[in-house]
Amino acid sequence: MTGNFYPLLKWIILPPLAGFVLNGGIGKRFLGEKGGGWLGAAAILLAFIFSFLCFSDLLNLPAGHRLLRDTLFNWISAGSFSIDFALRFDPLSAVMALVVTGVSFLIHVYSIGYMRGDKGFNRYFSYLNLFVFFMLILVLADNPILMFVGWEGVGLCSYLLIGFWYEDEKNAAAGKKAFITNRVGDAGFLIGLMLLSYLLARQGVSGLDFETLALNINLLDGGTVLGFGAPTVIGLLLFFGATGKSAQFPLYIWLPDAMAGPTPVSALIHAATMVTAGVYMLARMSFLYALAPRALEVVLVTGVFTALLGAVIAALQSDIKKVLAYSTISQIGYMFMAAGTGAYAAGIFHLTTHAFFKALLFLAAGSVIHGMAGEQEMFRMGGLSKEMRFTFALTAVGWLAISGIPPLAGFYSKDLVLEHVYAHGVPVLWYAGLATAGLTAYYVTRLLALTFLGGKNSETHAHESPLLMTIPMAALAALALTGGWLGSKYLLAFLDPASARAEISPEAFRLTMISVITALAGVASGFFFAIPAISDALARRLSIAREVVYNKFYVDEIYAFAVIRPLKRLADKVCFGFLDAGLIDGLLVNGAARLTYRTGAVLRNLQTGNAQGYALTFTGGLILLLYWIM
């Protein structure tokens, strides 16, 4: 076991847990709103500070050996399994931990303002802290099993927070949908792990921590499952789990509904942190994917496809949060693209910048909704730039960042990803990525235009949000401005020293130009189509296409029709109705009992009461016996 024992790690995850317990247990009664909110935020800040300390200690280590470990206790040990509750802190975890705690802290602060006066205030903060706790377990876990704890834990919190306003049936339903969809992915993830541990165990490797796995993964090379390479199969199964968690095709359907939750939640869980867990997992398991190029192909294609799909749908949504939701799906597609080309660093880099600007955009949207007293329909907004100057300014930063306008964050990371895709050498994919970039610029511009520019479309007098909300947004904006440049300068090198800013393709400059132009084109068209007359005309033209896209290609309906309803039918009609109640219980069990009873009832009639009949049977029996003897 390499890596130095480092007891400080556990202190990263403990404060959020404490926050959860306090807020959840005694919050409502003793802490009240003020105390609860600040306690929650403080817990996260503490976690951030600790991760920063660990980070700085990590930096002091030589580039090759940057790894800290902390084993709390032996969690599960039976047979040949021995799973420790152990944390690891290497560059990858460090970045994730910092991003998670940092962004979470800002969003906690923001939430104090946003959730003011909500009767579930303490419940909200306890859930939020619990989420951070699980998220940190996810990114710090030293073995996939413990990682799975965080993996499902964040899913739980997202379930709880989506359905936070449970009185409304559809919020609760959305939460359920999210959880179950995730579970579908998790099932794949589990089977992948089972297969992995099984195959390694057959080679005599029983340890499951990442170190051991990485060291022995080569044993799987050449091994096949159902004719495919073992690593490929495992990689695909794990990736299937990732598609659930990170809302990629085909399991992305839950994320749009997830917007039912409070907006800060959407910003934190469904934009900045949880949904990117899949990317983190791929990066974490990179040693496996190194052996499974075909799996990576699938990852890449899925990423591209999802990115494009998400962007297309986003381009036609009218609910401000839905737009951002699909944009998230599409942006995560970019991260998977990067992973698919093997450029995990680039993926994480985009993850980081995305965390900044998407969180910013969500918070801005939240501030707008807050200002518009809960209004989310963009066509009923407009002209808010005057009433909400500050929010507008900050949104603008996010807008430029995501559109990929240099020198903001989005530009650096997205450009890098696209370069890798280009270098991968399948032009189609690169074009698709580019198109996505253009679309991105388009829909986010459209969002900005519809919301803040033009004339007012509603009577509600919007008001600027309180400082508690705007200051965190400002902080994020600052990161969105500078994050890209800093990242490309330090982050990449920190993540994998090897390919530190190595020249990816000779024509890097040309590519950059192209993507920038695309972005600008997108922006322009965004403004253009935002002019009502034109948009209406267009809408009339391709109304059908618009319908289809607006309803997300009816994927939900298809699932319902093709999967859920048949399954439910199977359960109700076949399994319960026919098999259980009918065949097994009705016919076999009770049937046998009834038959026995009936037989008795029939035989009983022999007992006519007529003594002579009895005598007859008597004699008959005697004759029978005589016959037997003769």
Binding site: G600, L603, Y614, G621, W628
Partner: protein
């Protein structure tokens, strides 16, 4: 005869003589001094006396009296007290709340004589004595069944008599044929006269003279009638229902035992022949299957117990195949079965309005009004159903183990499955008592004697299972003949 044998002689006959004396006393004393409550006391006294008198007589040695007409052996040492206990309990049952039965004098007289008949039956050393003992028993029972002079009683008595006389006919014919072909009626003599009983002739299927086997078939039929094996069982439910409940109890507990044991004697005689073993096998199976099946839909509790007694006859005869282990098990089984069935009838006797007894439905909600009676009933019923830790389970276990040891796997499997089936009708009684709402209030004011009987029986049924070692040891000692 030398004095030593003479003392043997006296001691051995002490029991039956005391019993006869008690019986006669029960009959005549009331006529002499019209003191009603004296009679039963006398009967019980006689029974108790006999019970005490038997112990000195007991010993490992077996005595042959009247040139082999009677054989007193450990076997009888076990069974005489058994029948006397049954008699004693029957008397206690007869003393229920409403003062003695009409014509009580001859009632106790007949009961005592029936018991005497049974004692002679199991101690008989040759077939004619068996015949006479059976007749003594039967004639008393015909009368006892009808002793209430009620329609139901009369019908029961008549049916019993009619079929009984048919059985007698068979019996006599059987005796005639056996005697005619073997030239003797003495069991040992018969045993040695039969070809396969010679150790010299170890032919796989030694054949009997057809007339001999015919004779044995007639005998088997005749005794199967007493033991209530299907298809010679059909009198049982009707008679059990129609006869006064204490009499039914006596039939179920004691008379059945007599029939079973004499059948066992025949089994031992003929066991050398595969065909006869098959016959006994078949009788056992048919009996346990049909008995249980027909019990399922019964409503009248006395009928139900009648069918259950048939089924149990089937279980018991499974023990025949187990050699002396089997006999030991059978003897144990007979005892615990007698206790349980006696108890069940006792509860009925305590609550019934007329000798037709009660239906299962009448017991609805019984536990609410009479928790202790219901509890006792539950114990008896569960013991009959063979649920551990009650005695009935141990009885079944011992018998089936013996049978399985003799290799009768299927017989045992069938028996076990049927006993699972039987649970249904036994539990119906519990269900009624504990799980239904009361609608016909049964008023029971059991007499002191009745309560005593119930307590003793319930305790015995509970204890004799878990602590079955002593009773088993007695059975062990008796299991030689």
């Amino acid at each position: 005869m030398n004095p030593e044998t003479a003392s043997h002689f006296m001691r051995s006959l002490a029991v039956p003589l005391t019993l006869t004396a008690a019986a006669l006393a029960a009959l005549f004393l009331p006529m002499i001094a019209g003191k009603d409550d004296a009679r039963p006391g006398l009967a019980v006294l006689g029974a108790a006396l006999a019970l005490l008198a038997v112990f000195p007589a007991s010993g490992p040695d077996s005595i042959s009296l009247f040139s082999g007409a009677l054989t007193l052996s450990p076997f009888t040492n076990y069974l005489w007290p058994f029948f006397l206990t049954a008699l004693a309990f029957t008397v206690l049952l007869s003393l229920r709340a409403r003062g003695g039965l009409p014509g009580a004098g001859e009632y106790y007289f007949l009961l005592a004589l029936a018991a005497l008949g049974l004692m002679l039956l199991v101690s008989a050393g040759e077939l004619l004595t068996v015949f006479i003992a059976v007749e003594l028993l039967s004639v008393c029972l015909y009368a006892l069944a009808a002793i209430n002079r009620s329609p139901a009683g009369a019908e029961a008595g008549y049916k019993y008599f009619l079929l009984g006389s048919l059985g007698t006919g068979m019996l006599v014919m059987g005796i005639a044929l056996v005697y005619g072909t073997l030239g003797t009626l003495n069991f040992e003599a018969i045993q040695s006269a039969l070809p396969f009983s010679h150790p010299s002739s170890l032919i796989p299927h030694p054949s009997l003279h057809p007339l001999t086997s015919t004779g044995f078939i007639f005998l088997i039929a005749g005794f199967s009638f007493k033991a209530a094996l299907v298809p010679f069982h059909m009198w049982v439910p009707d008679v059990y229902e129609g006869a006064p409940t204490p009499v039914s109890a006596f039939m179920g507990a004691a008379v059945k035992a007599g029939g079973i044991l004499i059948l066992y004697r025949l089994y031992v005689l003929t066991a050398g022949s595969a065909q006869f073993r098959e016959i006994f096998w078949g009788l056992a199976v048919v009996t346990m299957v049909l008995g249980n099946l027909m019990a399922l839909p019964q409503q009248n509790l006395k009928r139900l117990l009648g069918y259950s007694s048939i089924a149990h006859a089937g279980y018991i005869s499974a023990g025949f195949f187990g050699g002396s282990e089997g006999l030991k098990a059978v003897l144990y089984y007979l005892a615990v079965y007698a206790l349980a069935t006696m108890g069940a009838f006792a509860v009925i006797a305590a609550v019934e309005k007329d000798e037709r007894g009660i239906t299962v439905k009448d017991l609805d909600g019984f536990s609410g009004r009479h928790p202790w009676l219901a509890g006792a009933m539950a114990v008896f019923i569960l013991s009959l159903a063979g649920i551990p830790p009650l005695a009935g389970f141990f009885g079944k276990f011992y018998v089936f183990t013996a049978a399985l040891k003799a290799g009768c796997v299927w017989l045992v499997v069938i028996a076990l499955v049927m006993s699972a089936v039987s649970v249904y009708y036994y539990l119906r009684v519990l269900t009624a008592m504990y799980m239904e709402k009361e609608h016909t209030a049964l008023h029971a004011r059991p007499s002191r004697a009745m309560n005593l009987a119930l307590i003793l029986l319930a305790l015995a049924v509970t204890a004799l299972g878990i602590f079955s070692a002593p009773l088993l040891r007695l059975a062990q000692a008796a299991a030689i003949f």
